[in-house]
Subunit: 197 residues, 2 copies
């Protein structure tokens, strides 16, 4: 049986972590990006399908490809971030299931020829992995700034021209500058979110 | 700037955590369920929309309502789990945005009259919150066993008859019995998941 994480860890992951808009001029090493992926891959997905695909846009050339597709309010802060990760998912993730889910070699057939079911499974599980991604980044000491305000079709055409991968959301990564934080928004109460029956 | 979590915490959240199928006969107190929700609510969602809604099915009467809608392979283990959480999302989450996202009082209008956009936003962000839920449960020392194998429409009719909430996935909670674990499935490699540009 596992113990509880201490309060310092819970604050870092959840209760005191903030969505950042401004960034310190401090590099994020590639080794840290690799470590995030090596944590994310262990998070649970249905039939271990692991549909998330991630492009870390770090170079000036990469940023220039991304910039035209960002909403006006997200452009400057993303260009200033050390890294912007495109969180996408593979609509043909099921091609890997015979290797990834050896418990049931028929799993691939659940999706073959059922594009709507495959898309929904990729979107659900790719989103789960997107959340693992943000908490993994926080766990290794980075700050996140996730965004939905961009032209998905434009990003997909630029970064995923073969049509198999679809962008889900973007997430800036780096060491946040608290001066750029908004006031923290209120949260729903327990009774608005949950019940016990 | 935050430090890194230590290896013990990373193992508990990611690298050594497992999806459990068998459960110790040990109660999960309601206070722990409340604590999970109080962590999940701080996780980032777009425009702080927080669409996830959670029903913790804990009583025998609640389990009896859930049982008919589970796939055969998920029924017995769910009935034996101390708690099964229904992770759902509110298709009308945007009604709360004037309170939850005071930075932009127009946010509600992005979704009013655009049911497809609202559904996709609820599903994406509700899935993010579902992942926060699993990692929060692990963070407070519980084990998880998430499942997609159930009749969503049947669960929705039984638990959400007004049609505004839609089930996403189920997650058993408790203290896992390692005797019920499958062999761990392989994971994709870094170069299959990600690239740095």
């Amino acid at each position: 049986m596992a113990d509880r994480l201490d309060q310092t860890a819970l604050k870092q992951l959840f209760t005191e972590a903030r969505t950042h808009n401004a960034w310190q001029k401090r590099d994020v090493p590639d080794a840290l990006l690799r470590e995030i992926v090596d944590l994310v891959k262990w998070g649970p997905t249905s039939a271990n399908c692991e549909p998330a695909r991630i492009v870390f846009v770090k170079s000036a050339a990469g940023k220039a490809r991304l910039a035209p597709h960002l909403s006006a309010g997200n452009r400057d802060k993303t260009m200033a971030a050390p890294v912007c990760a495109i969180i996408a998912h593979d609509l043909e993730f099921y091609e890997h299931l015979p290797r990834l889910f050896p418990h049931n070699l028929a799993a691939k057939t659940w999706f073959n020829g059922n594009a709507a079911h495959a898309e929904r499974t990729a979107f659900r599980n790719g989103s789960l992995q997107g959340a693992y991604f943000m908490l993994a980044a926080r766990a290794v000491g980075l700050d996140c700034g996730a965004m939905s305000g961009f032209d998905n079709a434009g990003v997909d055409k630029e970064f995923f021209p073969d049509g198999k991968l679809k962008s889900n959301f973007l997430c800036n990564l780096g060491y946040g500058d608290p001066a750029g934080l908004f006031a923290r928004s209120p949260r729903l109460g327990f009774d608005e979110i949950a019940k016990i029956v």
